[in-house]
Amino acid sequence: MEDSKNSIYALKTSVGQEKNVARMLARKVRDSGIEINAILVPESLRGYILVESSSKIDMRNPAIRVPHLRGVVEGKTEGESKIEFEEVKRFLKPEPIISSIKKGSIVELISGPFKGERAKVIRIDESREEVVLELIEAAVPIPVTVKGDQIRIIQKEAD
C-alpha cells in the first residue's frame, strides 16, 4: 500500500452514543471542511470512535465540538496519540464469534429467554451462524438453537 500522511486517532465518547457522535461529526466535517476522511465505530470498542485524518485533531477547534464527544485519547508524550493502521485493520474485518467456538465449549447465554444460563455447545452451524446448545442446569437435556451473537464463551475447550 502506498504511503500516506493519514493518521488514526481515538476519540472518547459517552458510552452508547458512539454512532450518534460519528454521524454528528461527519455532518460537521462536511459543513466545515475539517480534514477527516473516515470515521470508524467498531462494535467491540465501547465509548470510543476512531477517526482517520490527515491533520492533527485539535479539540479546541469549535468546528469539532459535538455533544457526547469527550476528547482525543492522548499518548504519554505530545503527538503520540496516533494509532497504527495495522492495529485498526482488525476492526475493519471483525471475525465472527462463532469461528472461535468449538463443539463442547461452555457458553453463557446473554439474551433471549435463557439469558444467564450456562450451556454446552453440541453442534455448530457456521453458514447460518447458529449453535445448538444443551443447558447445563436443565433436568432434561433439550437442544436449544440460538444465534452466534446471543452467547458468550466461558470455556473454549471441551473437557
Partner: protein
C-alpha cells in the same frame, strides 16, 4: 424506519434494496464506518470503498 445494510457492498440504507447494487439489504448488521473522502482515506482503500457514505462493518 429501520436501517439496513447491503449484503454485498455493506452500504447502510433505509430501503429494502441497496440503491447502488440493487441486492436485498439486511437488518442484521453491526459496526459503523462513515467514509467522507474515499480518495484520501486509507480505510476506504483497504476495504475497496469508492463512494462516500455510511457502511456497516459486518452484515449477515
Amino acid at each position: 424506519m429501520t436501517e439496513k445494510a447491503c449484503t454485498r457492498c455493506k452500504r447502510i440504507t433505509s430501503d429494502e434494496r441497496c440503491p447502488v447494487c440493487n441486492v436485498p439489504a439486511s437488518t442484521n448488521w453491526s459496526g459503523l464506518l462513515i467514509i467522507i473522502d474515499p480518495e484520501k482515506s486509507d480505510i476506504a482503500r483497504e476495504l475497496d470503498i469508492k463512494l462516500p457514505g455510511e457502511y456497516a462493518l459486518r452484515v449477515r
